[in-house]
């Protein structure tokens, strides 16, 4: 370390005050750059820990596992939850309404819902991951295996032996 600990602490303080107003660049796997507030980026535990570890805020963060379309949608969530307050009842209600509309849109496009789930997992955005997995779970609830396959466009690939074993251990009504 070049600076004394006092100076480092002061620098960290200054950085702390600044955080939230700093901008951070996220780059999709297609090379498209998205500039977001630090508060928004901190919704991701992955990016948060890199920033806190004194990482490359200026250089930005390439995200080789996320495409532009998905990243744009993920950022939409992070902006809403990172940049807005949730202290009052009204503010929380507004966020809940946002989540509801956000997930309703994704629910209509299951392949995209999967992509956003994958990205939420990769970036460790807990709230978004809980939201998308809950949406997938809600789609599954009460459906027959055939209906589930249709809902998610899953190909049937069980063997006759699998079927036999399932029949033995599962429902018979």
């Amino acid at each position: 370390m070049a600076t004394g600990s006092g100076a480092a602490a002061a620098a960290a303080d200054a950085e702390e005050k600044e955080s939230g107003s700093r901008m951070i660049t996220l780059t999709s796997n297609e090379g498209k750059a998205f500039v977001v507030t630090e508060a928004s980026a901190r919704q991701s535990a992955t990016i948060r820990s890199m920033v806190d570890d004194g990482g490359c805020v200026d250089k930005g963060f390439p995200l080789p596992n996320v495409d532009s379309k998905t990243l744009a949608r993920v950022i939409q969530y992070c902006d809403e939850h990172g940049n807005k307050e949730a202290h009052t009842v009204d503010e929380r209600a507004a966020l809940a309404k946002f989540d509801k509309d956000f997930i309703a849109e994704l629910d209509a496009d299951k392949a995209f819902l999967y992509d956003v789930t994958m990205a939420a997992n990769y970036l460790h955005i807990q709230g978004l991951f809980a939201l998308t997995t809950q949406c997938i779970a809600d789609t599954i609830k009460g459906k027959t295996p055939e209906e589930i396959r249709t809902a998610f466009g899953i190909e049937y690939d069980l063997t006759a032996q699998d079927e036999e074993e399932i029949k033995e251990e599962d429902t018979h009504a």
Binding site: Y114, A137, G142, P145, D157, L158, T171, A173
Partner: protein, 420 residues
């Protein structure tokens, strides 16, 4: 950024989540949905099986009716779902046939069962895990009758003594001899477990038993049943474990607080008043937010037929106010549903468990007389609408055998730690 354009993403099956994320979805599903997921495709099947096998599956389950049903291989244990009225074979059940046991209680997904020698065992029907409880011969009023011709002194029958906690001891009748498989029919009324034995923590089983519906308990570390004395003729109807202590209610509505945490138990009366009603089945429950206590009274009527058929005609719920002593106030169930029978008396919010009907009481047969004497009569099982006092069927036609009596269970897929 001066990076070269990245290579196009590798083609992926966009409709297949990786196993760890599928697991995250599956852990939020109750087991009937999880079973159906297993029949979707090979990835989903492997994920669902791994989740059940590894014991990480801990989604809170809605209570279901556990019963024995006739099958090609004899009898099977089945579970009945309350929402879609679907029945399920108990998944991955590897334990002893449920029909060989008497079921005397159910808490935290574990049945308290009595085998053909009247010995008690905890049994989790979905994992097949079992834990033997202290021998019936360590219950205060029971002594073994040994085979005099057998050097090992094997037990041939049991002697039951008819006294309660009154001092000096007064025997109300001469001791009676019960055969090995006969005692369980008379002695066991209800058993509750303080916490899930699979959690690995210490637990206690509280037993309401005959003669005279007394209390005995056994901690997981105990080798014998510990008798609780009361110095008068007190008969218990129900017991729950809340805030680290047992609350036991008598048929007269007296509530005792019993603490078994130390080397010795302590007990004190917290509600003294005698109820205006007697000889009803009384239950004790607590609201889902662990706030209000409630007393639940069940009124039944037996038909004039031979054998008589018992039917629940009315259920009342009163608030048990430990502070104000304004106890005889009707309790508003609101969004809550209550489960009564030989199970741990449970109150849940229909908001948390959407399969449940709010303001309804789900009941199973626990009438002592009918269960002891009439094993082949229709069981008294149904759903009571607390709003309009009507009684509905859980499922129709009823798929269960009349014996052993069905019981409410909240399935638990947590397995015992391996070293136990």
């Amino acid at each position: 950024m001066d990076a070269a354009p990245p290579p196009p993403p590798p083609p992926v099956n966009r409709l297949d989540l990786p196993a760890d994320m599928l697991s995250a979805v599956f852990t939020t599903l109750e087991f009937p949905d999880l079973l159906r997921c297993g029949a979707v495709c090979t990835t989903w099947l492997a994920t669902a099986r791994a989740l059940l096998r590894d014991g990480f599956y801990s989604c809170p389950q809605t209570p279901r009716l556990l019963y024995a049903a006739a099958s090609s291989s004899g009898t099977d244990a089945e579970l009945c779902s309350l929402a879609d009225k679907t029945t399920y074979a108990v998944p991955s059940f590897t334990g002893p046939p449920i029909s060989d046991r008497y079921i005397v209680g159910c808490s935290h997904g574990w049945l308290v069962t009595a085998d053909a020698r009247s010995e008690l065992h905890l049994l989790n029907p979905v994992t097949g895990d079992q834990i033997s409880l202290p021998s019936v011969t360590t219950i205060e009023q029971v002594t073994p009758i040994l085979d005099v011709d057998d050097a090992d002194g094997s037990v041939t029958a049991y002697n039951l003594f008819f006294y309660d906690g009154n001092i000096p001891r007064k025997e109300y009748r001469t001791p009676a001899i019960y055969q090995l498989d006969e005692l369980r029919n008379f002695i066991y009324m209800k058993a509750v477990i303080s916490s899930d034995p699979a959690s690995g923590d210490d637990f206690t089983v509280m037993l309401i038993h005959n003669p005279y519906m007394q209390l005995s308990f056994a901690r997981s570390s105990d080798k014998q049943w510990n008798w609780i004395t009361f110095h008068n003729n007190i008969r218990f109807s129900d017991c729950i474990f809340e805030d680290d202590v047992f609350y036991a209610i008598t048929y007269h509505g007296v509530v005792h607080l019993i603490d078994v945490k130390g080397d010795f138990y302590t007990r004190r009366v917290i509600v003294q008043e005698t109820l205006p009603m007697m000889y009803l089945i009384v239950y004790l429950a607590r609201s889902p937010d662990h706030g209000d206590f409630m007393q639940i009274f069940r009124f039944t009527r037996s038909s004039e037929t031979d054998p008589p058929v018992t039917r629940t005609t009315k259920i009342s719920v009163l608030k048990l106010d430990l502070e104000d002593k304004e106890r005889f106030v009707d309790y508003d169930l609101g969004d809550n549903a209550v489960f009564i029978g030989r199970n741990y008396t449970t109150c849940l919010s229909a908001k948390d468990y959407p399969e449940l009907m709010p303001n309804h009481i789900y009941f199973t047969d626990d009438d002592e007389y009918s269960l002891r004497a009439f094993k082949d009569t229709p069981r008294d099982i149904g759903v009571y609408n607390y709003e309009d006092d009507s009684v509905g069927e859980v499922v129709s036609p009823q798929p269960w055998l009349k014996w052993p009596p069905p019981i409410w269970i909240t399935p638990s897929f947590k397995r015992l730690p391996k070293h136990v």
